[in-house]
Symmetry: C2
Subunit: 352 residues, 2 copies
Amino acid sequence: MSSSNTTGRLAAATVVDVAEHAGVSRMTVSRALSGNGYVSAAAKAKVKEAVEALGYIPNISAKVLKHTRTNVLGMLVSELRSPQIAQVVSSVGLATKRAGQDLFICLAAGDPADESPTAINHLLAGICDGILIALPKTPAVSLQLIERSGVPAVLVDYAKGGTKLATVRGDNYNSAFAATQHLLDLGHRRIAFIAGSSYSGQSAERQRGYVDALQAAGIAVDPSLMPCGEFERPLGQEMGRQLLIRPDRPTAIFAANDEMALGVYDAARDLGLAVPGDVSLVGFDDIPAAGYRDLTTVRESVQEIADTAVRTLLRQIETRVPTSQCIQFPNELVVRGSSGPAPRKIKAARAS
Amino acid sequence: MSSSNTTGRLAAATVVDVAEHAGVSRMTVSRALSGNGYVSAAAKAKVKEAVEALGYIPNISAKVLKHTRTNVLGMLVSELRSPQIAQVVSSVGLATKRAGQDLFICLAAGDPADESPTAINHLLAGICDGILIALPKTPAVSLQLIERSGVPAVLVDYAKGGTKLATVRGDNYNSAFAATQHLLDLGHRRIAFIAGSSYSGQSAERQRGYVDALQAAGIAVDPSLMPCGEFERPLGQEMGRQLLIRPDRPTAIFAANDEMALGVYDAARDLGLAVPGDVSLVGFDDIPAAGYRDLTTVRESVQEIADTAVRTLLRQIETRVPTSQCIQFPNELVVRGSSGPAPRKIKAARAS
DNA sequence: CTGAAAGCGCTAACAG
DNA sequence: CTGTTAGCGCTTTCAG
């Protein structure tokens, strides 16, 4: 039974309590619950009953000390304010639940100069059987640390060049190519690309898709049409404004994520330009707001990626063989109202 | 030194390793690191050097087993997709970091019929010194469980009636009263309120502030002007649409959160109604999108709330005395462009 | 000021 | 099929 200790807190029931209640030994309880070894049906039933009567929950810390599985996975994430990241984390939450695992999420500051990322990493390593990593803004150093520690780990959605860790993600390059092709098909010839943060490999791959699509169409790439918006909405708005007030402004803008695309939306509105009448807009990620604002964008199969990442991690934990495979899922171009035919003539932006 | 074990994973350094390296006993190491008991300066220095040389990180699980502090706090959260919740969690993350604590976040499904919330709760109880709870959508049952377990816990931002747990939050009632007063001051007499989910106490308190402000102004409350939008944007849009197509439509709408207010924004646009020309809009939370859309709203001091919640929890952990105090912070009315003078005449909504 | 012993809750490994 | 023994890494006694 639960009994109170010196802290005044109720002490949780232990194997010993369950064993006594069921009239068997500790090991029988342990075996009955883990499924390892032979236990008679009768004993199993008695244990089951005792567990329920006492509300027994195995203590993970004791398991950790014995180097046994805890069925807890860890997730390292650089921030939660981005809707796209929130989406990824939520999907991983569902995926772990489906797989019968618990999930501990840790915020790992993306700041390279951060005092002790180590502490959190080892913390996770101790308790969790393995970790999932979604760190778009973190430098490669932290990843090398994890790599060397030998903890089973899988990168989710965000990939970094130069790592040997297994990765599950969407196909940035081909979908960016397709998005650009979509604009080309609509007759656009002057298409801008607003890049995201260089920390993440994402933006660079999307940019490669954009560049290659233009070149395949025989269009020269104009470096002045490729500003950087750091994946953030206010900066996206500013870059959009700068692009749109130019006399030779682009007729279409492809932003490396939806947040920036929504910023460009606002910039266009402020300048009295119609979307898609005067300028077509395409984003990336398909965050909820993209749907509300009728934004054409690229949708990743986030849930599928999350499920696969968890499965990959569990396999790695079970086989004890680290994989360095990279699984890529195709993305879907979601055509909505923000992209349309290229305008016949370029309307001047209204001074703002 | 680190040595590899059967799993092929590097085994972390232990107190024994540090003790050997420093030429002292395990206890001296333990004392030097925890600060409990007397250790000579010389021994302290040797230990410190050994710790650094070996990259030693104390194993929390072993501490848990000895019922000592882990300096890890847990956070139970019902979801992460809501920008407001993401904001709260991020702020708590910063607050714990400032307090020198680590944070483990757990997604606790808000579904009352969920299989095993217990598992996660006890999980947290074992590893964490205490837990922070932000569960707008979770029924009181889970809270009672936590309450009875005796684990130090503090409710952050979301309060539930009937709990004895300490609570730190914003003042919903008075700020909702002030927001409604703001609309009254602008000459509005027909003001609607879109309520959120009834799971959370938030919405009901905001609604009370709205009702009382109307009554204080001598305006009869019209139940048909108080639909429920469940805190979600699509439903907010639908409720907004239904309110705005009425011949006796309100000239102002106060939504219980920004998401729903943004939905109403879209509904107004679809109906050809200008904001604030034809209808004024006020939201609640001041999520980033509220700023982008120039929405008048109520801002909570989320970071202050988070810092105070963490401080309150740490005090509870240290003193071992559970508090049931409720600390409330005043909210700020942020007046932006979505609220303006009541229109002279009611323009009919465009059929849509 | 420092060390030795004991035990937190659990499960491999080895006997029955 | 079941029980006993030992020990994971740490810290709280209790003796030096």
